[in-house]
């Protein structure tokens, strides 16, 4: 069994379009994969391969979800779903809340989240 919890940063939460990508990411794995919304109703589990079931979780921006998989490829399934959610499921993500967001960032770079270099490559 493999499990991970992560915070959703999609501006409108996990609505149909990002969930469609979530299901399509989960689909190829043989593992049984369940998702819970830790901030709404942690008792309720949804099948990660059913868009209707996932919609009932009501995952909004900022909610934490838990993804649990059982089966031979459980680890890979959880890793793939984590990567997909962190990449935004096809959407541009909201800023992560951070206390240091409006402070000068030169002082404690190690403590803040990763920021792209101001120059950028493009």
């Amino acid at each position: 069994m493999a499990s991970t919890s992560l915070t959703v940063r999609n501006p409108s939460g996990l609505h149909a379009r990002p969930l469609a990508l979530f299901v399509r990411t989960a689909g190829p794995f043989g593992a049984s994969i369940r998702v819970r919304n830790l901030d709404r109703d942690p008792e309720r589990q949804a099948d990660a391969k059913s868009i209707l079931a996932l919609m009932t979780l009501g995952v909004s921006n900022g909610h934490r979800i838990e993804v649990t998989a059982e089966g031979p490829d459980a680890e890979a399934a959880v890793a793939a779903l984590r990567a997909a959610v962190e990449a935004g499921l096809g959407e541009t993500l909201s800023e992560a809340p951070s206390e240091s967001r409006h402070e000068p960032r030169s002082e404690t770079p190690a403590a803040s989240r990763d920021e792209p270099p101001s120059g950028g490559s493009s």
Binding site: A20, A26, G27, G30, K49, S50, I51, L52, M55, G58
Partner: protein, 139 residues
């Protein structure tokens, strides 16, 4: 659950060509490109209505071997789909299922579930259940 072959196809039947095309466009945005989604809208002369012959052609185009789910709008759209099944009259008709779900929701849900290789009966069950989709309306 995981099919190795082609995915289930989808035919969107509406009285309006533009509505059918719009629903198919929406569903395709959520689906794997391998899922065949075909819009059949309007009567043969282009007016509002349904066209069993057009649905027959749509079913043939949407089937990749795993069968087809029909999602229809209101009233005679389902009747026209049933007439199309009678016109087909051979092997393909046996792997066509008409969903009871509302056309937009059923098309989207069927497209997603077909994308992960679910069987005809699994996709049908999901499309039927699409009527229960929570729209998240606060009230």
């Amino acid at each position: 659950m995981l099919a190795s072959a082609a995915p289930v196809g989808i035919v969107v039947v509406s009285h309006s060509r533009r509505l059918a095309e719009g629903v198919a466009e929406l569903a395709a945005q959520m689906a794997d490109p391998s899922v065949r989604i075909v819009a059949v809208g309007g009567a043969a002369d282009g007016s509002l209505g349904t066209d069993p012959d057009g649905i027959v052609a749509g079913l043939q185009a949407a089937d990749a071997g795993a069968g087809v789910i029909v999602v229809a709008d209101i009233g005679s759209a389902v009747l026209a789909a049933e007439t199309a099944l009678e016109l087909l009259g051979d092997g393909l008709a046996e792997r066509v299922r008409i969903s009871r779900g509302p056309v937009v929701e059923a098309a989207v849900v069927a497209a997603v579930q077909a994308s992960i290789g679910q069987s005809l009966e699994e996709v049908l069950a999901a499309a039927d259940e699409a009527a229960t989709m929570d729209k998240g309306v606060a009230r």
